[in-house]
């Protein structure tokens, strides 16, 4: 990097003021309420938009300059990675399955975040948040593009990454991250800022982009490391935006407190549920582990999030109610989610496997209270079954939570041997939930969540087959028809890593890279 520091005529604060506040005006031909129709209905009271102050004070000219520098670095690395067959330098091909989950489950969210911030960047009447949201909207589309570009090199060589755009709208487990963003973008602009700007960016993305991407580096994946850190360098700005939005709402009017508190409680829990996928990626899908999910949770949620909530206490904000439960769950969720995907590996766009002895020992050491007691016996049994040629696949369809859309696989906070079930009645129908947190979210806004597109219900209703399929035909195989509709090839994109084409190809190519035969 060689950038000349320019000779400044104005200080940072003055430049920021001129390039944000100085570009705004009060409308006179049209009423401000008509121009900005969405920023009042949620009940948030704002008296003085000029009190909004973006702490980063990044102006558009500086923004373009630094983003361009990040892009140059990133694409130089992607070129080098491709030209040197960087994919053969990863620890082992199981690692690629974490990237499959990333491209299908996370990159499309970046695009939805782009749409969401474009929307709120238009609809806040204060110019400070509008400018900041516009920059974030551009960041978010950059993230989806750079992730797609970085991973396209893997797509050439490995299965399951070929149709993420189609899969995010159809595949059962991808409805979990998708419903999170659908919920956020269909909320009002202030709730969207809490959902994405605060809970997702400030409280939770550290867990994805910092320890997981550091883990990618540990596993030899230069491509993912670079897009991950390049994206996270924008997240630092996004976090301060989310935090500023919270402080701004709380400082503007005391009536905003209960609304903000409810959103914080809701979106912290929604985020925790989505991140259970990341927990599984860290504990099971990185062949070389960097830290356990529990350790990452303690650093980035308990210490970092704890400091934040302590700071917000002066406005009357209390720590989200779910924290008591997540403190217990952190020793369990990654194991429970991996168990689920192992069983349902026949309908996933990535491979699953049972951990090796050495990996199980690592899990025992990291989870001394839970792994040997609850999970090792189950995994040992499944390994025995596989050794006998009876690899277990669960072909039944599970009950899904109406709110987070995760199958009901999580256990009671105080009894890890009992699956948690909750239910609510609404307009003569029964709705099912995985937890108190999800039930409460539904009960606060049932008219929203009854509209959820639940993959299992949709399969049973016959909506998940191609149009020319006849479910009444003799010998009809519904699961095969669903896979076909997902655009997944049975025996190629799904099932166990052992025996997969990915496993064979990686071994063959790595051999070719080191020998001359």
């Amino acid at each position: 990097m060689d950038m000349k520091a320019s000779k400044k005529k104005l200080g940072l604060k003055e430049r920021y003021a001129h390039l944000t506040r100085g570009l705004d005006w009060e409308t006179s031909y049209q009423k401000m309420d008509d121009v900005f129709p969405f920023d009042k209905f949620e009940g948030i009271k704002i008296h003085d938009w000029d009190k909004w102050e973006d702490p980063f004070r990044l102006t558009m000219d500086a923004y373009w300059k630094y983003q361009a520098e990040k892009e140059r670095k990133l694409y130089a690395i992607i070129d080098a990675f491709q030209q040197n067959n960087g994919h053969l330098g990863i620890t082992d091909a199981r690692y690629v399955n974490a990237l499959k989950l990333f491209i299908t489950g996370i990159s499309p969210l970046e695009y939805m975040a782009h749409r969401g911030f474009t929307h709120v960047g238009r609809h806040f009447r204060g110019v400070g948040p509008r400018v900041a949201c516009q920059m974030q909207a551009i960041d978010e589309i950059r993230h989806s593009q750079t992730q797609i570009h970085s991973m396209s090199n893997y797509n050439r060589h490995y299965n399951g990454m070929h149709d993420f755009k189609n899969m995010i709208e159809k595949v059962w487990y991808l409805s979990v991250p998708r419903s999170f963003f659908d919920d956020a973008v269909t909320a009002g602009p202030f709730e969207f800022m809490i959902a994405i700007g605060f809970s997702f960016e400030y409280v939770l993305t550290n867990l994805l982009f910092v320890p997981f991407i550091s883990g990618a580096a540990f596993n030899g994946d230069m491509g993912a490391t670079t897009f991950g850190f390049s994206a996270q360098s924008d997240e630092a700005r996004h976090m301060t935006l989310g935090l500023e939005c919270i402080k701004f709402m709380l400082e503007q009017d005391p009536d905003n407190l209960p609304i903000v508190q409810k959103w914080i409680d809701k979106w912290t829990w929604r985020g925790v549920r989505v991140l259970s996928l990341v927990g599984m990626m860290m504990d099971y899908m990185l062949p070389k582990r960097v830290m356990s999910w529990q350790e990452a949770w303690e650093i980035y949620f308990e210490q970092n999030g704890g400091a934040l909530f302590k700071d917000l206490a002066r406005y009357g904000i209390t720590i989200p109610k779910c924290v008591e439960q997540v403190t217990k769950d952190k020793e369990h969720i990654s194991h429970q989610v991996w168990s689920t995907f192992y069983q349902y590996g026949g309908v996933a766009a990535f491979h699953t496997w049972m951990p090796s002895d050495e990996e199980m020992d690592w899990l025992s050491a990291k989870y001394p209270n839970t792994f040997d007691k609850y999970y090792r016996p189950r995994f040992t049994y499944w390994r025995e079954q596989e050794a006998q040629g009876k690899r277990f696949y669960n072909n039944s369809l599970p009950m899904l939570c109406q709110t987070c859309q995760i199958p009901l696989v999580f256990t009671e906070p105080d009894d890890p041997t009992k699956i948690a079930y909750r239910e609510s009645d609404y307009q003569g129908e029964k709705y099912h939930f995985c937890s108190d947190g999800c039930k409460e979210i539904f009960d606060n806004e049932p008219e929203k969540y009854v509209q959820a597109w639940l993959p299992v219900h949709q399969i049973y209703q016959g909506h998940c087959f191609k149009p020319d399929v006849d479910p009444t035909a003799p010998g009809f195989d519904p699961l095969a028809a669903v896979l076909d509709w997902y655009n997944l090839v049975d025996g190629q994109d799904n099932k166990d890593f052992n025996g997969s084409e990915d496993q064979r190809n990686f071994a063959a190519w790595r051999g070719m890279a080191t020998r001359n035969d």
């Binding site: 520091a5 990044l58 630094y66 520098e69 982009f209 910092v210 580096a217 360098s233 976090m239 960097v290």
Partner: protein
């Protein structure tokens, strides 16, 4: 007192930054992780332009931090001369 942190990529651009931050913040603790460092500090952490320029031997715009910054916590206060993280008000 709560902790703030700054996480940076490890590369040739950030080595002088990390050196300056550790010199200016005796309370800071450096954690080295694969491809990155996380600098934790009780209460507050300051990044000073003058300290970085003294090590680099060239003018430095503090906003260049954007390029290699991975994550942070705390309230940000940014001026031409200092970038400060703290939980103070």
């Amino acid at each position: 007192m709560s902790t703030v942190f700054l996480a940076l990529q490890t590369n040739d651009d950030t080595r002088p930054l990390i050196e300056a931050i550790l010199a200016d913040n005796p309370q800071a603790v450096l954690r080295e992780e694969p491809a990155m460092v996380k600098i934790d500090a009780e209460g507050s952490l300051v990044v000073r332009r003058s300290s970085i320029e003294a090590i680099l031997g060239r003018p430095f715009d503090l906003q260049e931090l954007q390029i290699n910054l991975i994550s942070l916590s705390g309230h940000v206060d940014e001026t031409d001369d200092e970038f400060t993280l703290s939980w103070a008000h």
